[in-house]
């Protein structure tokens, strides 16, 4: 949960839930795109905190888990498009690590939507803003990341989904 308040909630009502998202952005593409969004004055939600790395290849799963345990509700890792990495292949390695992570997180009770890898080129300021907006909206739906209650609920969700698929009825 963030100390952010919307400042627009009616007096006396509980503050609206504002998720906290940590973004690991690579210096050459995604961070530049975020700067570009700023230069173009494109507005996106303030829920994101950006941490600069030189390349998404630097991002370890440890960082993601640390962020989630330190109070973040979701993590975004954004780097160059495949083939466009400033260091040739760092983003491919990041991608492979994220695949593993995305399978692991639900087993901790963390919905896989709370971790997102995105490819953002240095000229894609608009895209960056859009991605942040989408993620904030999604996490708002999912709610804050907290303890066991959430964990069990997430596991239930896991089984129910399987049934839905096996039953052959497309409910969503």
């Amino acid at each position: 949960m963030s100390e952010l308040t919307t400042g627009s909630a009616p007096a006396g009502s509980p503050p609206e839930y504002e998720p906290k998202i940590i973004g690991f952005l690579c210096n050459w593409c995604a961070y530049t795109a975020a700067d570009l969004a700023g230069i173009a004055r494109i507005k996106y939600p303030d829920n994101i905190r950006i941490v600069r790395v030189m390349c998404t290849g630097r991002v370890e799963p440890t960082f993601v888990l640390k962020a989630l345990s330190a109070g973040a509700d979701a993590v975004l890792v954004a780097g160059c498009h495949p083939g466009g990495c400033h260091y040739q292949e760092g983003n491919y390695k990041a991608y492979k690590r994220t695949l593993l992570l995305q399978n692991m997180l639900p087993q901790f009770g963390i919905e896989k939507e709370r971790f997102r890898l995105e490819f953002v080129a240095s000229s894609e300021g608009e895209k960056f803003a859009r991605v942040v907006g989408e993620m904030v909206a999604k996490i708002k739906e999912l709610g804050p990341l907290s303890g066991a209650g959430v964990r069990l609920a997430a596991l239930d969700g896991f089984f129910t989904e399987k049934e839905r698929i096996e039953g052959g009825v497309n409910l969503g």
Partner: protein
């Protein structure tokens, strides 16, 4: 950490940029409460001198050892602040920035939230900076060489500037000549200078400058290294012409028989396969376009250069064509009659209408030669070696021919009364007249091969005798024995092997009576049946145990046989011959069906239900296959294979040294052309063998054509089929069925050839080149360069307007692109500068359309900048050279540059009709082209009839811009052009240090801007060269060897090969000079031995903790 951390935090207002959203005082106050923060201030402009002085003062007076600035993006001012720290005596890397402008105040709409966000980022930075360590910057020397990619006006300008400064330039240009797109123009705006006149001096100067090394017709394939130290690989494409010897005289162009599309003339004309791009090309030499080996040539078992002799035939050079054929195959007359022409099956013309009648053309050439005499080939000087060949069939004759040409004395020993093998004794007269065969074999004998007849191996000579008397022996005995049926009654009189039957028909031609049954499905069976009918048989029926689809005989032969009345009985197998009094009476046959596919790929023939049939016949011919008949005298002398064929190694040598073998003897029953190919191949090996040289490996497989080949020219033309004798007239053995084509028909066929490989290697150019500059065997070469800076000046392409059906390009004639019009107007273009339509008439009215594909969300959203002025230029040229009326359909008139508006004025004065309304559609009406548009200024709808339309198409990035960007590790902007560092302030630098942009590859621009930018790029490079060294970031990875477990996980991850494994210490070795600092290895290290300066794990965890706190 022992030292006490004393951090100074400075929160910048940036005027109102930050302060209007973020409560900077609150952030500063908050920062003051964080652990390790000694002082926290806010100030209006931290990047200004007073702002920096604040920091310096605090460092000195308050003993700060860490600094955090919360302001703009570190990509903007990190270096500024690092320098400020250094000036105050503190290492610049003990510094962190929090980006609260681009990433907070400018993107937020909520001041409360923005302030909280800013506080969290500051918190993160404060926590991280505690763990920052001082880092020393490294320096690397700068290699003074410069690589310039692109030889257009941008590349030339930059090259000349740098060369004049005394530094070495490598100028790489993909096309054959310098000049780029500008070389295609006629005049340039606004001065109306002739483009070539102002460009060629630069081209020539660059070509002659001692400090410029030209690498034309070349491409960069690999780039490694970093600024100051790049290693570049360049592939120089084979020109097939020696640049140093070629004088540019053009004799070769005169004789080249192949035409292809002239891309320099934008597809408006054709050029030869050997060409110079344009008369003022630099270097002023020719080159040859080779796309690959044409499929006809590739598929011919003998490797005959089909495309080559087709091209020569097209020019009427029949003897040259035959000489080219004989390079691969010495029996053209025979081939032109009996070959099964796999070449026609692969002919790409067949994809359009019908394949070229290659076989018939070859036949014409041979027959023409027979009438007009031939020229003997040139042989190598006598070698003094002798080779004996046993068997004068196609394999033996071919081997003899090539060995004789190689300078050896050749003797061919033939057992029968005449040479030719199955050509003489197997193939019937009506397919291959014997006198033609004799004539062809005579040619071979005349050319130095001595053929001795009635010489049987074993009876008249032995293998040992040959091995003693000759330097090598080639066995080409073929497969002369018939397979037997293995059924009862086979030995009865009247059951004859088809080989014997055909041989007898080819010698004595005795008549046949009664009913004839032929067992088998190959060519021998069909030949036997057709021959039997001609010799008078009452009927001839072919019995085959599978169906027509599985018959190995040539489809044509089967068709002709049917026409002539041969019957076919499929799915029938012989069981028993019924006889009476020792003579055959009938054949008992079993019905068959097709089963599963066998090992050979054909479906098995298995018994079917139903009764056997009894077929009466007077003569049964067996044609179920041939096998080797090994003479007794060879038994035990040479190793045999499974099917009784002679075994040879990869060189064609048998188990007996010095004895080679080839043709059907080795391969089993095959075709004539494959036998010839075998003879030729073995001759090549024997040639080396008798000279005592190392035996040569196989000839490298030629390069096939890239699929699919789009024929550049296409007009439908039906194939000339050789006339055929009607079946009723096919009496007697000797009437040839097909007639040779006439000369006109042959020339037509030769013209139908698409020249798939472009250059056909006919060698005519080689013959006329007096400088001896042509070398068809040239290969691409690779060059490695070391440079310190790279300038990309790769230019632009234009949009293909056929994407928009409404513009009529490619649908109607006389609709041109701007570049096509330039070529028309250019004096060295396809019309020598006359502005005319395709039908040669001058236009009476010309329409010029702006914005075709530019300013258009459906194609390119941007404005191409130069086309308004180009349109004015075109209008002027049309007015100048013709009497036509000119209509310009425009949306805006962008005449922004120096003298541009004045030029617009001038063109207006020339009486051009300007219609403000985009040309929406080009139609054809009543034989004229019509432009539909709204004249928006008049507010009326107009349909303007014209005779020629010029489309100003959008300037686009090159189609391979993506690949080039990756090669040089630069990015592209959203419009696809290369991305500059900053669109306003740094239009030349890229995100990759040491790589600069010049010209239209960065964005569309006119010539003055291109030249200016190129000079700027040169200045960037010279700046680095002048400084002599560059600063390398110290942010690299390193390894704590004591923690390294030697797992080698990190080693393959580094794209720069900066990590190696030490065998002695069993740990990873990090080469920090090569490391670029991505951190991938660090993230992967399971032992925690790999570290990254300034992005250590503890630093990352601290900053995460910090930004998550609020």
């Amino acid at each position: 950490m022992a030292e006490e951390i004393r951090t100074g935090v400075y929160v910048c207002h940036c005027g109102t940029n930050i302060a209007d959203k973020v409560d900077v005082q609150a952030v500063s106050k908050f920062a003051g409460t964080l652990p390790g923060v000694t002082v926290s201030r806010d100030y209006k402009y931290m990047c200004s001198d007073p702002g920096q002085d604040l920091i310096k003062k605090d460092i000195k007076e308050l003993g700060l050892n860490r600094v955090v600035v919360a302001s703009c993006s570190p990509r903007m001012h990190e270096p500024t602040f690092r320098r400020a720290l250094a000036a105050a005596g503190l290492n610049g890397y003990l510094f962190e920035m929090a980006n609260i402008r681009e990433q907070v105040s400018w993107v937020s709409s909520n001041p409360l939230q923005a302030t909280v966000k800013a506080k969290s980022l500051v918190s993160g930075a404060v926590r991280k900076v505690r763990y920052n360590r001082p880092l020393e910057e490294r320096y690397a020397p700068v290699n003074p060489n410069v690589l310039i990619v692109g030889g257009g006006v941008a590349g030339l300008e930059a090259a000349l500037k740098i060369a004049e400064s005394g530094n070495q330039v490598y100028l790489v240009e993909r096309e054959a000549s310098l000049g780029g797109n500008m070389a295609k123009f006629d005049k340039t705006f606004p001065t109306l200078d002739c483009a070539a006149c102002i460009l060629t001096p630069k081209m020539v100067e660059a070509g002659q400058h001692e400090k410029i090394k030209l690498l034309t017709y070349s491409e960069v394939t690999q780039v490694d290294g970093f600024i100051g130290n790049f290693q570049v690989k360049v592939r120089q494409k084979a020109r097939y012409v020696d640049v140093d010897k070629c004088t540019g005289c053009g004799d070769c162009e005169q004789v080249c028989p192949v035409n292809t599309v002239d891309r320099f003339n934008e597809g408006l004309s054709e050029r030869k396969a050997i060409f110079k791009e344009f008369p003022q090309a630099v270097p002023n030499v020719y080159q040859i376009t080779k796309k690959g080996t044409a499929p006809c040539r590739l598929t011919c078992p003998a490797g005959v250069n089909v495309q080559g002799y087709m091209a020569l035939t097209r020019q009427g050079k029949y003897s040259e064509a035959l000489a080219l054929i004989r390079e691969a195959m010495p029996l053209p007359a025979v081939c032109g009659r009996v070959c099964f022409h796999p070449c026609e099956g692969e002919c790409r013309r067949g994809d359009l209408d019908q394949p070229v009648a290659i076989n018939a053309v070859k036949r014409f050439l041979a027959d023409h030669e027979a009438k007009n005499g031939s020229v003997p080939p040139v042989s190598a000087p006598a070698s003094g070696r002798k080779v004996a060949i046993v068997g004068a069939g196609p394999a033996g004759l071919a081997a003899g021919y090539y060995l004789s040409r190689a300078g050896h004395e050749v003797v061919v020993l033939e057992g029968k009364a005449e040479a030719g093998g199955l050509l003489r004794y197997g193939i019937p007269e009506y397919r291959l007249p014997k006198d033609i065969l004799r004539w062809e074999i005579d040619q071979i004998s005349r050319d130095g091969v001595s053929v001795r007849i009635n010489q049987w191996l074993g009876r008249d000579f032995t293998l040992e005798k040959l091995r003693q008397e000759y330097d090598a022996v080639f066995l080409a005995l073929g497969t002369s024995k018939e397979q037997t049926l293995g059924i009862p009654g086979e030995e009865l009189q009247g059951v004859v092997s088809s080989l014997k039957f055909l041989e007898s028909a080819n010698t004595r031609a005795e008549s046949v009576s009664g009913r004839v049954l032929v067992i088998g499905g190959g060519n021998a069976a069909v030949d036997a049946a057709r021959t039997a009918l001609r010799l008078g048989a009452q009927s001839a029926e072919i019995i085959y145990r599978r169906t027509r689809n599985e018959m190995p005989a040539f489809a044509e032969e089967i068709r002709e046989a049917e026409k002539e009345g041969v019957k076919f009985r499929f799915l029938t197998a012989p069981m028993r011959v019924v006889g009476r009094g020792g003579r055959v009476q009938a054949l008992e046959c079993q019905p068959r069906q097709l089963g599963e596919v066998d090992a050979g790929g054909r479906r098995r023939s298995i018994p079917a239900s139903g009764p056997n049939v009894l077929l009466e016949a007077e003569l049964i011919l067996v044609a179920v296959g041939q096998k080797v008949e090994l003479p007794a005298s060879l038994a035990g002398k040479v190793a045999l294979g499974a099917r009784g064929t002679v075994l040879v190694d990869e060189y064609g040598q048998t188990s007996s040294p010095g004895v080679f073998a080839g043709g059907d003897l080795v391969s089993g029953p095959s075709s004539m052309v494959e036998a010839i190919a075998a003879g030729k191949e073995t001759a090549r090996v024997i040639d080396a063998f008798v000279r005592g040289q190392a035996l040569p490996g196989p000839v490298p497989k030629p390069q096939p054509l890239p699929q699919p080949a789009n024929p550049d020219r296409f007009y439908k033309a039906a194939r000339h089929e050789p006339a055929q004798l009607e079946p009723e007239k096919r009496r007697g053995l000797s009437a040839e069925i097909t007639v040779t084509l006439s000369e006109e028909e042959v020339l037509d066929e030769a013209k139908r050839c698409l020249d798939c490989g472009v250059c056909s290697e006919c060698q005519e150019c080689v013959k006329v080149c007096q400088a001896g500059a042509i070398d068809h065997g040239m290969q691409d070469e690779e060059v490695e360069l070391e440079v310190g800076n790279i300038i990309l000046a790769t230019g632009y392409e234009t949009l293909d307007p056929s994407l928009g059906v409404q513009w009529g390009y490619g649908r109607f004639p006389n609709v041109l692109t701007g570049l096509q019009f330039e070529r028309l107007s250019n004096a060295s273009g396809p019309t020598l500068g006359r502005i005319v339509r395709e039908d040669g008439r001058e236009p009476e009215a010309v329409a010029i359309l702006h914005c075709i594909g530019s300013r258009d969300k459906n194609y390119k959203e941007y404005c191409s900048r130069v086309c308004c002025m180009a349109s004015l230029k075109f209008a002027h040229l049309v007015k100048d050279k013709t009497k036509a009326r000119v209509y310009e359909f425009y949306i805006d008139m962008r005449a922004y540059g120096k003298q541009y508006e004045e030029f617009y004025n001038r063109v207006q004065d020339e009486g051009v009709n300007f219609i403000r309304g985009k040309g929406a559609e080009v139609l054809e009406k009543d034989g004229r082209l019509v432009i539909r548009a709204e004249d928006t200024l008049l507010g009326v709808f107009r349909e303007v009839p014209v005779d020629m339309v010029i489309l100003n198409t959008a300037l686009t990035p090159r189609s391979d811009a993506d690949a080039v960007a990756r090669l040089f590790t630069i990015q592209r902007s959203a419009d696809g052009f290369f991305l500059e560092s900053h669109p306003k302030l740094e239009p030349i630098k890229t995100a990759t240090d040491g790589i600069y942009l010049a010209g239209a590859c960065q964005a569309p621009k006119d010539i003055p801007d291109t030249v200016a930018q190129a000079a700027g790029a040169a200045a960037e490079a010279l700046e680095k060269i002048s400084a002599g060294r560059v600063r390398i970031s110290p942010i690299t990875a390193y390894c704590l060897e004591e923690l390294c477990s030697g797992c080698k996980t990190c080693i393959p991850l580094c794209p720069y090969n900066a990590i190696t494994f030490s065998e002695e210490k069993k740990v990873a070795l990090y080469n920090e000079a090569l490391c670029k600092g991505c951190g991938t290895c660090v993230a992967s290290c399971p032992s925690g031995a790999a570290h990254m300066r300034n992005f250590e794990e503890e630093q990352m965890l601290e900053i995460i903790e910090g930004v998550c706190a609020l």
